[in-house]
Assembly symmetry: C2
Amino acid sequence: MKKTEKTIYEARAKIIKAIAHPSRLLIIEELQRQERCVNELTEMIGADTSTVSKHLSVLKNAGLVADEKRGNAIFYTLRCPCIMGFMGCVEEVLAANAEDQKNIMKACKK
Amino acid sequence: MKKTEKTIYEARAKIIKAIAHPSRLLIIEELQRQERCVNELTEMIGADTSTVSKHLSVLKNAGLVADEKRGNAIFYTLRCPCIMGFMGCVEEVLAANAEDQKNIMKACKK
DNA sequence: TGGCTATTTGGCTATATTGCCAAATAGATT
DNA sequence: AATCTATTTGGCAATATAGCCAAATAGCCA
């Protein structure tokens, strides 16, 4: 792998890594519906505020969300709705895996 | 986040995490083109064989690739070509980030 | 000003990931 | 059988990630 290539793959991996966490997936899904402040997301996730704040900074750092201060709160929005297209494929993979499991079970019973 | 919800998000995150690594991105891209054995991928990546083997087992464990033994070698194939749809969105994010950088630079010069 | 509310930051521990080496395994070849 | 090739596994050290608490910061409100 050449150096230039490596840089490109690393940049892509950084984006995808930012998405690859249960809480951050929830955040992305919710922000795709509507903008939310840290407090609201914290309640939905049920973790410490600081933890959620850090998740948001990971997403922001990857360029996936934008934030805007309004009044006392900071509202986060999803910058790239296309991310949700991801999820369809992920579900496909999960469905395929479930199908495999089913077939394995069936084979075992024989 | 309810327990059931959490399980779902964790399952999704596992798939996405499997994709989120530079070498594994290269592997996915290459397998989308054609099936490859561990040795071939190892050469392309330029890491230890054992390292590549482990990357492949991560992908396999997530259900993203399948393997088939033929002769002396084990050939890996991509199970879900839809993953490549991911990449378009990732590139969009990277382009948007680059655009931001450019604007920041421009603002600084003033 | 002083106290709220919302959010971020620093610090720490626990856990997970990565990547190398060496050794084990499995087939193919001689 | 002995060897060669391809791959996986175990073990280890380095690094990264996650999540909590406590403390810092910033704007609002009385």
